[in-house]
Subunit: 80 residues, 2 copies
């Protein structure tokens, strides 16, 4: 079983890395790009012995406590 975890900055939190990418895109001539925000993406492989609800609970806790900083970041967990 695989869990995908997406971590993004909350709205309103400044994203200097995203701004730098956006600026670079403009400088090298990309048109039509209005904004870029950077986040993180994790693929968490789970033991197949876990059932889906345990796995989801486990990964939600892992995302909240380890993979993200809940003060400034949101996360989303998807089990596939």
């Amino acid at each position: 079983m695989l869990a995908k975890v997406y971590v993004t900055l909350k709205n309103g939190v400044l994203d200097p890395q995203g701004k730098a990418i956006h600026h670079a895109a403009e400088t090298i001539g990309y048109q039509g790009i209005a904004d870029v925000r950077q986040g993180k993406y994790f693929e968490v492989k789970l033991d197949s012995t876990l059932d889906e609800s345990t796995a989801r609970a486990q990964v939600e806790k892992f995302a909240h406590d380890v993979l993200s900083n809940p003060v400034i970041e949101d996360y989303k967990v998807e089990i596939v």
Copy 2:
């Protein structure tokens, strides 16, 4: 229009950051986590003047040339 770009390391490419997260998870007592791989996630906001196929082509090129290193990374573009 928003494009989501996922950048992941190709299979076989070592991921020391993912390994460190996995090791940390084991140390603090998470069970059932077999492996962790870290990638990057970008949200690219596009001008609404672009039609969808132009937008996709533009973002595919941007993901290939700027957001990822195609030697060691794969990318996936989603237009929402």
